[in-house]
Each structure stands twice: as structure tokens, then as C-alpha cells.
């Protein structure tokens, strides 16, 4: 089957485009602004980030003017959502998701993570885990997606740890999909279902206590 036939990106009315605030314990996903673009540009050009080989940065290195154009275009893209990630008071990363928007097309009730970046100078501090948990609260508790999916290079141990802790499972392993640092690396495709979210995180990670709003009536 021609998969491309099933995954066009078309506009729809309920645009999500730039993401609103989603709070983690140590990080906050928030609306990206032009002030964040220098960080986005720096990460895209950082070989530590690019060494992840896939899904690690928003777009290719470019002049700041081009990043402004990208942000403007993103603000009109009705099939994806972009956030900046703040960590303990400073810009710490960014992430973006996309959704198929035609009924019956692949992933029309799933959400794909197209990139997830954490400032490389702050790796190893747990910011990625915290922000990823907040992002998946949005995916499952707010959007109520049936599943989330992403792709990672097999050598990206840090991202794989975060994904496995969240509840992702590898559903495909492609042979020598990526090339970097003088070698081929396998590509993993991962998926996490709503049922997994509910089982693993439902008791502790809801945004508000259930039933919603009950504490306001007390």
C-alpha cells in the first residue's frame, strides 16, 4: 500500500499549533516565542544533539531569520503543536507532536512525537523525564489519544530509558537506518497506548483530582 496516500497533512479548524501550558514537577511546557529561537537554533547546530540522529531537534541549522519564519509557519500548522520547555526558570528544551487528521488514515487517533530536545548542557538532570511525563499527560489525559508513537536511534540510551519508563514498547527495529559519527545505527519505532498510560500513571499523574472541579464546590 502507498502509505503516503494515507498521511496527508491538511488544515482543520481546531488548530493546536502552539501549545499552551502543561506543568510538570520541575519543567513547564509553554508557548514558544521568538525569544526561544536562539536556543532552538543552537541545539539544531549542536553535534551532541544531532548525534541522536533522529527526533532530537526541530529543524536543520539556519539563520535566525529562517527560524522566525519557521515559528510563524508553525503557528499556522494545524496538524502539529510545538512547545518550548522551561526547566527551573530557564529555557531547557522544546518538543513537537503531530497528528494525522483524516478519518481512517494511519494514526488518526494517535499522536506522533516529531522531536524532543533538552539543552545538552543540562542532560542528566532529569528534566527530559519530567517534561516527557508532562507531554504525555497532555497526549493521553487531555487529547485522549489512543496511542503515541515516535522513532529513536538504537544507540540513544538516554531517550530510550525515558521512553521505556513512560511505557513505550518497540514495535519495529529497522536495520542500519541512520548514519552518523562514521557508523550505521539501527532505527527503533516505539508506541505507547492509552491503556498503558492509565495503568502506569493514572493513579499519580492526573492534572486535577477526579471528579474534576469537585474541590471548588467544597
Amino acid at each position: 500500500m502507498m502509505r503516503a496516500e494515507r498521511t496527508p497533512r491538511l488544515p482543520r479548524d481546531n488548530a493546536r499549533v502552539l501549545g499552551g501550558i502543561v506543568r510538570g514537577k520541575r519543567t513547564t511546557l509553554r508557548v514558544p516565542t521568538e525569544a526561544d529561537l536562539a536556543g532552538f537554533a543552537r541545539w539544531a547546530a549542536d553535534l551532541r544533539v544531532r548525534g541522536a540522529l533522529t527526533r532530537a531537534y526541530w529543524d536543520e541549522p539556519a539563520m535566525l531569520a529562517t527560524w522566525k519564519e519557521r515559528l510563524a509557519k508553525q503557528s499556522e500548522d494545524k496538524s502539529s503543536t510545538l512547545w518550548a520547555i522551561d526547566g527551573e526558570g530557564a529555557l531547557a528544551g522544546s518538543c513537537r507532536v503531530e497528528y494525522a487528521i483524516e478519518p481512517g488514515h494511519f494514526g488518526n487517533d494517535g499522536i506522533g512525537i516529531t522531536h524532543f530536545t533538552i539543552e545538552p548542557d543540562r542532560w542528566g538532570q532529569g528534566l527530559g523525564s519530567d517534561a516527557a511525563l508532562a507531554l504525555h499527560r497532555w497526549i493521553f489525559d487531555i487529547v485522549h489519544a489512543r496511542f503515541a508513537h515516535t522513532a529513536l536511534a538504537a544507540h540513544n540510551a538516554g531517550a530510550l530509558r525515558v521512553a521505556e519508563r513512560l511505557g513505550y514498547e518497540t514495535y519495529a527495529r529497522g536495520t542500519a537506518v541512520h548514519y552518523g559519527d562514521g557508523r550505521y545505527v539501527d532505527g527503533l519505532q516505539l508506541r505507547m497506548d492509552l491503556t498503558t498510560w492509565d495503568e502506569r500513571w493514572g493513579a499519580t499523574e492526573r492534572e486535577y483530582p477526579v471528579p474534576l472541579g469537585e474541590e471548588l464546590e467544597a
Partner: protein, 177 residues
């Protein structure tokens, strides 16, 4: 891009697509007999859309399309798309519109020709694809050409009151250096 003519065996050939071919393919794609392994078959069926798409296909450097011919007649289409010229990886697809010709090995031969072109002319390194798990004929045709399973995507699409899984396959250029 539109692919060149490639002669195969048993009257099967890949030929350069025309706008009329595309319009006929689109008409075949509306039929339940040829799309039983797809999800919802809603698409833009206007003739002007076919013309626009044909123009885009002809000039897009990330894909190569062919019409499949059997004994001189159009019977379907195949192609390589999402070609990444840096990693030299592509996705493949095939569609036989003449369901009365299923089981005659047309897809197997078309995949063999397409794969040989990918290695010998495009110098691609890897090709991957997604096929409905229940579409045993298509999976067999790909496996005959050397594709192997690299994964399985559960509950991918819904048809006839059931969820259906997809088979993820890949093939590597054996002569890649």
C-alpha cells in the same frame, strides 16, 4: 519523478505513467475489491486534483512512480517514495487495480523490477514498507523479493468491525559498500 520503462518476465513491465493512468488508478481506488486492506477510502477524486497530483509526482525528486503493465495493458501502479538521498533509504508501495488478475504473480515481478532499479540505477541502500498483516498476497510478493519483517504495528486501522495490524518490512541492498 516518473520511472523509465523496465521490461520484466511473463508479459509484465513497469512503464512510465501518464495522466490517464493516474485517473484510472484513482477510479480503481474507489472499489472495495481493490482496497479491502485499507482503512477509510475517502480521498479527493476530482479530475483537477489528479492533474495537480500527476504534475507534483512528475517533478518531486523524492519519489519514482511507475505504471504496472501486463500484456500491454495498465493493471496498477508501484513506486518508491519518501526517498532520503542522504541515508539512501526509501519507502515502497504497490497497488494492483485489476483485482481479476490477483494471484498471477504480477506484483511479485513488479516488486522485483522495482527493487533491482533501486539498487542498480538509484543506488539506494535500504527500502522499507508497511503492509496490512491480513494482505498475505502482498506480503508474500515482497518476501519473495527479499523483504523481511522488521516489526508489527498493532491495531493500526479499522475495517469490517475489526482492528487490523500492519506488517513492517525492509530490504537492504546486498551490494552496498
Amino acid at each position: 519523478m516518473l520511472g523509465p520503462r523496465i521490461e520484466g518476465e511473463r508479459g509484465i513491465a513497469l512503464i512510465t505513467p501518464t495522466l490517464d493512468h493516474l485517473k484510472r488508478n484513482v477510479e480503481w481506488m474507489t472499489r472495495p475489491e481493490t482496497t479491502r486492506f485499507w482503512g477509510v477510502r475517502a480521498m479527493d477524486l476530482r479530475p483537477e486534483h489528479a492533474e495537480k497530483r500527476f504534475g507534483e509526482n512528475a517533478t518531486d525528486p523524492t519519489l519514482v512512480n511507475w505504471t504496472i503493465a501486463f500484456e500491454g495493458e495498465q493493471v496498477g501502479m508501484t513506486g518508491l517514495f519518501h526517498i532520503d538521498w542522504i541515508t539512501r533509504d526509501a519507502e515502497s508501495g504497490i497497488f494492483i487495480g485489476r483485482h481479476d488478475l490477483y494471484g498471477k504473480g504480477i506484483a511479485s515481478e513488479a516488486i522485483r523490477l522495482r527493487t533491482r532499479f533501486a539498487w542498480d540505477e538509484l543506488r539506494l541502500r535500504r527500502i522499507h514498507n508497511w503492509i496490512a498483516m491480513r494482505n498475505r498476497g502482498s506480503r508474500r510478493a515482497n518476501e519473495k523479493a527479499g523483504y523481511r519483517q522488521m516489526g508489527r504495528f498493532p491495531r493500526s486501522w479499522y475495517r469490517s468491525g475489526q482492528w487490523h495490524d500492519e506488517w513492517l518490512g525492509e530490504i537492504l541492498n546486498p551490494d552496498w559498500v
